[in-house]
């Protein structure tokens, strides 16, 4: 016999999908359950059924819930060794392409996008690159577009940037205004921010490199396989796939269709 909360959780997720087309049905069970329980407290709802009624009839309440269901936790040059490895091992190969298409999948509020853009600029590649930055959360995408980040994190980002092989002063890339760092607009000139769901949408372009870091951990195996399928279809022959530091293709259906370039840094190439 299923427990009430499990039944209610499934119904909520189904209702969200039917009403708003956001598909959380194949997200990792433990994490989504925890976040819904957190939302119950935020919405002051006693049961998941009560939360369901609320968001089904109130699109604004759903948009609030969406902010709690997605995880906008990101930082610039997160895992500096990863970016150092891109500079040392991947950039020399990227330089052989006349033009580059890069997809930052699940870009959240844009920290990974600006990190990638800065790296590409320093390596002389940004002008011939197009970066697609996609996410399901419209508020996160809007923030990403603006490129304005809280000053309180900049010290940590600067440290990361320096460890990642950064060649300049990190302050060259932003203007400080009160408590915010406004990033150089030209960094996002070649970035297209777009609404795209790895759960429901299809491939939109051929790409040379896909970075999707700490997004797939929130998916179950079924949905991870779907995402890896999209990446495989989108990437050109020998294209690069970058994952988060504890994410792996090993337990997916696609483990034989990619080979690790740097296992430790979770950088793979399409076979």
């Amino acid at each position: 016999m299923q427990r009430n909360t499990d039944i209610e959780l499934r119904l909520l997720i189904e209702a969200i999908y039917l009403k708003y087309s956001y598909d959380f049905r194949d997200y990792s069970g433990a994490s989504i359950k925890r976040r819904v329980q957190h939302a119950l407290r935020q919405f002051d709802c006693k049961t998941i059924s009560a939360l369901q009624e609320r968001v089904l009839h109130d699109p604004l309440a759903f948009m609030q819930l969406l902010q709690l269901l997605t995880i906008p936790v990101s930082e610039m040059f997160r895992d500096p060794e990863h970016f150092l490895a891109i500079r040392q091992e991947v950039v020399p190969i990227l330089k052989t392409y006349p033009s580059l298409k890069i997809w930052v999948a699940g870009c959240s509020t844009g920290e990974e996008v600006y990190s990638m853009a800065i790296l590409l600029r320093e390596e002389g590649l940004l002008d011939r690159s197009i970066i697609y930055a996609t996410d399901i959360n419209p508020r996160s995408l809007e923030k990403a577009k603006q490129g304005i980040f809280s000053m309180e994190n900049i010290r940590a980002y600067t440290h990361n940037y320096q460890k990642s092989g950064g060649q300049r002063s990190f302050a060259d890339y932003y203007t400080a205004a009160y408590d915010y760092a406004i990033f150089d607009k030209s960094l996002s000139d070649n970035v297209t921010f777009a609404d795209h769901s790895l759960a429901t949408d299809s491939v939109f372009s051929e790409t040379h490199l896909i970075s999707c870091r700490n997004v797939l951990i929130y998916f179950n195996k079924t949905l991870q396989n779907r995402a890896f399928g999209l990446f495989h279809e989108s990437l050109c022959h020998r294209g690069f796939l970058m994952l988060g530091s504890k994410e792996t293709l090993d337990f997916s259906d696609y483990s034989k269709q990619f080979s690790p370039l740097l296992q430790q840094e979770r950088i793979y190439r399409k076979l």
């Binding site: 069970g29 925890r34 995880i71 951990i217 195996k221 991870q224 994410e247 337990f251 997916s252």
Partner: protein, 202 residues
């Protein structure tokens, strides 16, 4: 009431063991795992609070000292019986219904990521009564709520005797909340781990 030893005959079989520890945890873990023999057949999943660095030597240190397989959890990795798993620094670990792991970068719980509550609550949800949960020495409150959840799901709950713990805050936080099945010194927990496997596999 303080239980200083376990009535072996009252133990029920479990399918997994989860352990949480913080300050003083490395030594405590080495003590409770000291009696494990090669071929141990239960999975053991550990959250130990560590500085938020990207790479931890924890799994390597324990692998050198213990005769069973030890590794740091990867996302979506299936839980293999007889393996000792450590949560990676900077990530919460949860157990999924298909008995694999998921990782998460959600906000910290009690200033901690990985969080003991996060692991215990998800494991209680999946294993229910077939789970043993152990809370050891530590300087914060993480784990008390998770252990309580394990108890509510019918699992076996074990708290290190706070008098013996290097830092008693963490075990005491659990005892302030509810009465666990056992309050034991480390050598007692070491014996219990062996017994749990014996009854599970008979």
């Amino acid at each position: 009431m303080t239980v200083k030893d376990v009535d072996i005959t009252s133990l029920r079989p479990v399918n997994a063991i989860v352990v949480g520890a913080s300050a003083g945890g490395v030594e405590a873990l080495l003590t409770i795992f000291a009696a494990l023999k090669p071929g141990y057949r239960l999975p053991i999943i550990v959250v130990l609070h560590l500085p938020d660095e990207r790479r931890s030597q924890l799994a390597a240190v324990f692998a050198r000292r213990l005769p069973i397989p030890v590794k740091e959890v990867d996302d979506k990795e299936p839980i293999v019986p007889g393996t000792l798993y450590f949560a990676p620094p900077g990530y919460h670990v949860s157990v999924e219904r298909d008995r694999s792991f998921s990782l998460s970068r959600e906000e910290r719980v009690h200033y901690s990521r990985p969080s003991i509550d996060y692991l215990f609550e998800s494991a209680a949800d999946v294993y229910q009564h077939a789970l043993a949960a152990i809370l050891l020495t530590g300087a914060n409150q993480d784990g008390a709520q998770g252990l309580d959840t394990v108890k509510q799901q019918g699992g076996l709950t074990i708290v290190q005797d706070p008098d013996e713990a290097l830092v008693s805050t963490m075990p005491q936080a659990a005892l302030d909340r509810f009465q666990p099945d056992c309050i034991l010194p480390l050598h007692g927990i070491a014996r219990l781990l062996v017994e749990l496997e014996r009854i599970e596999c008979n």
